[in-house]
């Protein structure tokens, strides 16, 4: 292939109009030993393309690693970091919730203990309770004794009923009968 043909191919090459066969011809030309000096500048890129196509995974055990990984964990999360974040924050929220509940509940217990004192000895508690109940019982009975007098009040009230009869008669004696104009006193006479 002569220089003129190569130049024509290069022109098409830069317009993206060369076929794969054209490009193969260009590559072969520029990788050959004799490149005219006026075209030498183009050599570097075709050398680079050739070199780059030989770039390979340097890891010799790569295939085995893939097979091992495939068997152990076929599911590869796309966003492992994000998943872990959700997981951890979920746990953290649960723990916080539990701590919150426990403290709210326990605060009530603490307060109640402060009010009642902190005795924990059951015998002592029992004897104290018994004393208190005994005291209440004695005073209650005293109160009940006093209540006996209420019965006398009732009796007094019965006697008061007699008074009302007295009043009834008294009015008849003092005021004359409005129709007859005579008092009972005078009627009897």
């Amino acid at each position: 292939m002569n220089t003129r043909e190569i130049k024509e191919l290069l022109e098409k090459y830069y317009e993206g109009e060369t076929s794969l066969a054209d490009e193969k011809a260009l590559k072969d030309f520029f990788l050959s030993a004799e490149v005219p000096s006026e075209l030498e500048g183009y050599k570097s890129q075709f050398l680079y393309f050739a070199e780059a196509s030989g770039d390979e995974i340097s890891d010799r055990e790569f295939e085995e690693k893939v097979f091992a990984k495939r068997n152990v964990s076929p599911v590869v999360p796309l966003h492992p970091g994000r998943n872990r974040l959700y997981y951890i924050s979920g746990i953290a929220a649960t723990i916080l919730l539990l701590i919150g509940l426990v403290f709210t509940f326990r605060e009530d217990v603490f307060n109640r203990q402060k009010v009642n004192g902190t005795t924990t000895d059951p015998e002592l508690v029992f004897s104290q309770t018994r004393d208190i109940l005994a005291l209440v019982s004695v005073n209650f009975n005293k109160g009940m004794d006093k209540m006996q007098y209420l019965g006398q009040f009732d009796r007094g009230m019965e006697k008061m009923q007699m008074l009302s009869k007295f009043y009834q008669y008294e009015t008849l004696f003092i005021n004359p009968d409005p129709i007859t104009g005579k008092s009972i006193k005078s009627n009897k006479k």
Partner: protein, 171 residues
């Protein structure tokens, strides 16, 4: 699909997938991880894999998608075109006659191209796919592939010419 079949059908694609991913990510270790992920994804398809017209095209598409995902998540520092130009210029005169030095520069120049152009160069000039295959892998029509390819090639030439790596009389 037996492991043996998988080894014969899919595993030989490894290096091609690796080069493609590396062109997008510019990191050998990340590229290797991507290839591993692609293999595992394909393996999980099991017998469905036989229904695909081209396992290779599927593998390449998967490689590109996973690489682009990674590119987004890791916040890769995108090579600044000016940096490369300055770097090329500074050492340009000493290395003008040193061909292997210039070849290494080409690698850096390609790194400055947009991802689509890098991928087109990779698929066409390095792997030698035909336009039909490339438009399938990149999910765009053939004409768009040609346009991107032309732009990428011209960009490489432009940077080389600007740095006097070769004479260019213009078309």
């Amino acid at each position: 699909m037996t492991p043996q079949e998988f080894k014969i059908l899919v595993m030989p694609l490894g290096n091609k997938l690796y080069r493609f991913s590396r062109r997008i990510l510019d990191d050998p270790e990340d590229a290797k991880d991507i290839v591993q992920e692609v293999f595992i994804k394909l393996w999980k398809k099991g017998d469905d894999l036989r229904q695909y017209k081209s396992v290779e095209a599927l593998a390449m598409v998967t490689t590109r998608n996973l690489s682009l995902d990674k590119l987004k998540t890791k916040k890769y520092p995108s090579e600044k075109i000016e940096n490369v130009r300055n770097e090329v210029e500074m050492r340009g005169y000493e290395e003008k006659k040193d061909l292997s030095g210039i070849v290494q520069k080409i690698h850096q120049i390609i790194k400055t191209l947009p991802e689509l152009q890098r991928s087109v160069i990779q698929l066409r000039d390095i792997e030698g796919y035909d336009f039909d295959e490339i438009s399938g892998i990149l999910n765009m029509n053939e004409n768009a592939v040609r346009v991107n390819l032309s732009r990428a090639r011209k960009k490489i030439r432009e940077i080389l010419v600007n740095n006097k790596f070769y004479e260019y009389q213009g078309n």
